[in-house]
């Protein structure tokens, strides 16, 4: 495929994007031969991201200590590690012993039609909190510099087991329960960081991209005193998040609170008490728990 054809293709992509998200414009400049703004504006942060990261692979000694893995694929699928309760104790090293490829395998450099991965970004990837090259979602959630800064994700943060017999609970007398149909991960978990920006709850006049300017694009303008007891769960680095928010204002918060909203709803975060919280609970928060899920509690914080 020659370079000229590549260009044609990018133009075609632009049309689709124009329809889907109204984001044709910056691709147009790309097809014009100019460098794509987002991809070429490599910030120092992005260069950090491009540096080789250390995947959470355990040293060999640790691997040896993990569950013995059989060569029998049928047996491997039913290894106890894939089920409760063993999965709760599984370390990343345990998982990666077989599943290393989730970190090793790469996205294609170019799509089958020749669209180069360096030439394309989704709108959310233009946010300041997004850096580095295109990765698979597993890599992005486990090894990207930003996620490593603000979170301590491990395989079992998301993965709580699956049912090899059929991707649903209740396919045999002893099949795992509480699985989401056809999913390896409960989407409610994804919703924590991929829900809508709940501007109505906050009493804002509109979505953040409309109302943000009125608050200097700074969430902490209000939230320095409201719900100060934030992100106290074991898969997040609360301190780093606070620091990030202080340094970058709204963008960093928005990255998880509306900036990557795959879903129509917002996550009903637990309503931890905070200093100065009023006694009245607003209607939208009435059904919410006051504590995080047991498995996400930071050790020692609660019984």
């Amino acid at each position: 495929m020659n370079a000229n054809t590549d260009k044609w293709w990018v133009g075609v992509v632009a049309i689709i994007l124009a329809l889907v998200g109204g984001f044709s414009v910056h691709f147009m400049s790309d097809s014009n031969g100019a460098p794509a703004p987002a991809a070429s504006n490599t910030s120092p942060k992005a260069q950090e991201a491009a540096a080789p990261s250390t995947p959470p692979t355990a040293p060999a000694t640790q691997v040896a200590a993990a569950t013995l893995v059989t060569n029998d694929y049928g047996r491997a699928r039913y290894d106890p590690i894939h089920f409760k309760p063993a999965i709760d104790k599984a370390t990343d090293a345990d998982c990666l012993k077989c599943h290393q490829e989730v970190l090793d395998s790469k996205t294609r450099d170019a799509s089958p039609a020749g669209l180069k991965k360096t030439d394309t970004l989704a709108w959310y990837q233009t946010l300041d909190t997004y850096a580095g090259e295109q990765m698979t979602f597993h890599q992005r959630h486990l090894t990207a510099p930003f996620i490593k800064k603000v979170a301590t994700m491990s395989c079992t943060t998301c993965h709580q087991g699956n049912n090899p017999r059929d991707e649903v609970s209740g396919t045999s007398a002893d099949s795992p329960t509480d699985l989401t149909m056809r999913k390896m991960v409960d989407p409610n978990l994804c919703l924590r960081c991929h829900g809508q920006f709940p501007y109505q709850n906050m009493g804002l006049p509109g979505p953040w991209h409309e109302s943000g300017a009125a608050f200097q694009n700074n969430c902490l303008l209000c939230h320095v005193s409201i719900r100060t007891n934030r992100h106290k769960v074991n898969y997040l680095n609360a301190a780093a998040i606070e620091q990030e928010a202080t340094a970058n204002g709204g963008d960093s918060c928005y990255g998880c609170h509306g900036g990557r909203a795959w879903y129509r709803t917002s996550f009903p975060y637990p309503r931890h008490a905070w200093p100065g919280a009023g006694a009245t609970v607003p209607d939208w928060a009435k059904d919410r728990p006051t504590e995080s899920d047991l498995r996400f509690l930071i050790e020692g914080s609660k019984p």
């Binding site: 495929m1 293709w9 060569n71 049928g74 699928r77 039913y78 490829e101």
Partner: protein, 853 residues
């Protein structure tokens, strides 16, 4: 076609998806797509940049499935050049007066099931046999070398001549079965098959008379009704008020093209459903049936208990009994047999002082007396009610007794010959014109005929074999009672070695043979034991017409959709050519009268001539069909509209037409059976009572001694993802269902077995390794292992695929029914390995995370 050509073809056929087209053509079409580029957003289009072959751009060819299941559905091939890109099925367009979406009660669409839809995978599979192969290693080892047709056929012909002259006319055993059957021309079958006629005409053939699927049921239908045509068409099920599925799982085994669908209509109209079965099947759930779990092989006892309860409460249709039955009670016994046992008196214990009460039955079958009574009342007082006595409980020790007992129940409640009732049994309904190949006095010539599952016994013990041990059919042309000296086997449409009982015994026997010839389109486990593998064109690669199976009233045209792959030929070509080699022009021309010797190269005109003659002289002449052969070929399907729903024995009941039995009645008491005195001179070999009786099976859960060592009863029903062994090599299907042994949750708990654990199932006859499925849907004490997994032996002779016939016994019931479901076994966790398929690839979705294995 060269080997490389074929491989390219295979590759392109299997990869004919929208992605891979792209690799070669993306550049051009991208340019075209971009040619219309403007800044104005426009509607995105699917495949705008992908040259995906749409159905409307492809050539459409109507054909059908051809494997040996209980149905026959339409397939529509969409092809590009000589490659089938994809298959669809009936959508109402193809029949006369059809249009897209037409799907009426009278002319429902003939939609193919998952197996039919997977044909492309089988057609282009890795196991596809493409060239004649000659064995170079030991039998079963799987080492072959490619041979020319000339060399392979010369070898076969030479061996045939040698064996015939040395060992006489019984030396060659015909093991043609229905795996490639149900075409009117290219047939594989014992009675109406190309191989049988070829060997019979050649003068050397031992045939196999018992039908593995339903010999007990067939015996019952013949003895009781005088015919196997005791079936209703599938639409009649829509009219029932009660349907009792006795060992019947229409969600898995389709009897008729739309039986399951008509039953759904019945459900919507308030029909009640009952399932008597050791398993809560998917049929039970779909029809919301009352599940009555029953111990395997005890069905006749439960039915006897029901009969007792119906008689005791006087709920029987005495008028029907008096008019239409023989021997149901003392009053209906024929004059000559007044001193013989009648059915009612047997039930009430007159002859053995054991009244067959529901309480008596409950002890045997594990169903509570209350439930037996409740079901008896329900059946006797609901009209019309269909008791569908399926074949599976008949594949048992004394399985024929179960079917005869069912016929007695059907008759005593007057549910025979009425719309919404049922007299099945075999269930053969509408009569199709089934034979287009030359059918003459040589059609079924045999020199001895044995019970099908006794060949290994016969070979291993020859000549010290008693005729009753092998169920010798009387009247074989070599002289009555001559034990066949079997030296060679021919397989056609038959993965027999994988499917017969007691495989370990077969392995011993096959090594004593001098010749094993296998005709197949696929290399099967049986093929590995053959000396010569002859590649057979699939039904996509030859011209034929599909018959409905035992239910259904339609014909489907089966043109040669693509040219035969590799060097494959049709069975008819192979036997014709062999006939020329063995007996020159005389044999060749007689075997295939419309052909010359060049038939081996050019079969199109001859095949069409046979089919056209069949259409014009049989279908058009006998069945009031006006559509021409040309129009039929163009449309691809002909659906009959019947004047009235086809109900077996309707005229017998309404117009007094006699049944085709000796007495003209429904023979609960069989005059024929009552008059045998030397059972060893019959094909059955052992006594069969003249009335239906409960006879204790040789292995079952009621056996206190045998269950000490082997506490589980193993049944091996038909799987859904295979037809017997056919399709086991299709990855798509093994992805949807796995070979696994079903075990009740409480049993599993005791043994520490969890779903997914690899277990071994074993008895004194063999051992198999298979994963476990632990469920509440199975009766305690019962194991379920679907038949047909492809044998995969380890170095110790343990089958790693989970083929239940490693454990079955090659001891048929007197009437001939295979005792596939009469097996005691044990189960335990194991360290041995299970192999789901020859390619060893598991296909679960999680596989995509584990590409290194």
């Amino acid at each position: 076609m060269s080997g490389q050509d074929w491989q390219d073809k295979l590759k392109s056929a299997l990869k004919m998806d929208r992605r891979s087209f792209l690799k070669t053509t993306a550049v051009g079409s991208a340019a075209i797509a971009a040619g219309g580029l403007t800044l104005k957003p426009k509607e995105a289009q699917a495949f705008a940049y992908e040259p995906y072959p749409r159905d409307n751009d492809l050539t459409t060819v109507v054909t059908s499935c051809a494997h040996n299941c209980g149905s026959r559905h339409m397939l529509v091939a969409h092809k590009k050049g000589d490659v089938i890109v994809r298959l669809s099925t009936d959508d109402g367009r193809y029949q006369k007066g059809g249009e897209f979406g037409k799907d009426t009660f009278e002319e429902p669409q003939l939609r193919a099931c998952l197996r039919g839809r997977s044909y492309r995978s089988r057609l282009y599979s890795q196991e596809r046999l493409l060239y004649p192969m000659v064995r170079t290693g030991a039998r079963g080892e799987g080492k072959f070398k490619r041979a020319s047709w000339d060399a392979a056929l010369d070898h076969v012909a030479g061996k045939m001549e040698e064996l015939k002259s040395k060992y006489g006319p019984t030396a060659l055993l015909d093991q043609s079965y229905a795996g490639a059957s149900y075409g009117v021309l290219h047939k594989s079958d014992q009675i109406e098959g190309l191989l049988g006629r070829f060997l019979g005409m050649y003068g050397c053939r031992t045939s196999s008379w018992s039908v593995p699927s339903y010999e007990g049921t067939k015996f019952s239908s013949r003895i009781t009704f005088g015919t196997i045509e005791d079936g209703n068409e599938d639409d009649t099920f829509a009219h029932a008020k009660l349907i009792i599925m006795w060992g019947w799982n229409p969600a898995y085994t389709f009897h008729g093209g739309n039986t399951f669908y008509y039953m759904r209509m019945a459900k919507q109209q308030g029909c009640k459903f009952v399932l008597v079965d050791p398993q809560y099947t998917d049929s039970a759930s779909a029809y919301d049936a009352w599940w009555i779990p029953i111990r395997p092989n005890t069905d006749a006892a439960m039915m006897a208990g029901m009969v007792h309860h119906i008689f005791a409460n006087n709920w029987q249709d005495q008028n029907f009994i008096n008019k239409f039955t023989q021997g149901m009670d003392a009053g209906t016994m024929p004059d000559w047999a007044k001193d013989k046992e009648n059915f009612r008196d047997y039930i009430f214990g007159k002859y053995d002082n054991t009244p067959k009460t529901p309480e008596w039955a409950a002890e045997i079958c594990g169903v509570s007396a209350d439930d037996i009574k409740k079901l008896a009342q329900l059946y006797a007082t609901t009209k019309p009610a269909a008791l569908k006595a399926s074949w599976a409980p008949g594949r048992n020790a004394y399985g024929e007794q179960y079917n005869r007992m069912a016929a007695a129940l059907q008759a005593m409640t007057g549910n025979i010959g009425i719309l919404g009732g049922c007299a099945e049994g075999i269930g053969k309904a509408w009569h199709a014109e089934g034979v287009a190949y030359p059918y003459d006095e040589f059609a079924n010539v045999f020199y001895e005929s044995i019970k099908s599952d006794r060949w290994a016994h016969c070979v291993l013990n020859y000549p010290n074999v008693k005729r009753e041990d092998i169920g010798l059919w009387p009247g074989g042309k070599a002289g009555d009672g001559v034990i066949p000296d079997i030296r060679g086997i021919f397989w056609q449409g038959s993965d027999w070695f994988n499917q017969l009982t007691n495989i370990n015994k077969e392995i011993k026997a096959i090594n004593k043979l001098d010749l094993v010839v296998c005709n197949d389109s696929t290399i099967t486990p049986s093929g590995l034991y053959a000396d010569v593998l002859l590649p057979v064109a699939t039904h996509f690669e030859r011209h034929d017409v599909a018959l409905p199976w035992y239910k259904g009233h339609y014909y489907i045209h089966r043109p040669k959709v693509i040219e035969p792959l590799g060097e494959s030929k049709t069975d008819f070509q192979i036997y014709t050519e062999l006939a020329y080699r063995l007996g020159g022009e005389q044999f060749g021309k007689r075997y295939n009268p419309k052909a010359n010797r060049d038939y081996f190269q050019h079969d199109d005109a001859v095949d069409n001539a046979y089919l056209q003659e069949w259409w014009e002289h049989k279908v058009m002449a006998h069945q009031h069909v006006e559509m021409s052969w040309e129009e039929f070929q163009k449309r691809g399907v002909y659906k009959f509209k019947l004047d009235r729903p086809h109900v077996a024995f309707q005229d017998n009941v309404e117009k007094g037409v006699p049944w085709p039995t000796a007495s003209g009645k429904i023979e609960i008491f069989s005059g024929q059976l009552a008059q045998y005195d030397d059972w060893t001179k019959t094909a059955y070999g052992h006594e069969i009572p003249a009335i239906p009786k409960w006879i204790v099976p040789w292995e079952y859960l009621g056996d206190k001694e045998k269950t000490v060592k082997h506490p589980f009863h193993l049944i091996s029903p038909h799987p859904r993802h295979r037809t017997h062994s056919i399709f086991n090599n299709v990855g798509w299907l093994r992805e949807t269902y796995s070979q696994e042994v079903t075990i009740n949750a409480s049993d599993a708990k005791k043994l520490g077995i969890k779903t997914g654990d690899t277990v071994e199932v074993f008895n004194d006859r063999g051992k198999v390794v298979v994963p476990a499925y632990v469920t509440e849907r199975c009766m305690p004490g019962v194991l379920v292992l679907h038949e047909g997994a492809w044998l995969d032996l380890d170095e110790n002779g343990i089958d790693r695929s989970g083929n239940p016939d490693m454990l079955t016994l090659d001891e048929p019931s007197p009437a001939g029914s295979f005792a596939y479901n009469t097996v005691l076994a044990n189960v335990q966790k194991t360290d041995l390995a299970h192999k789901p398929g020859w390619d060893q690839l598991s296909t679960a979705r999680s596989h995509v995370f584990r590409r290194d294995l």
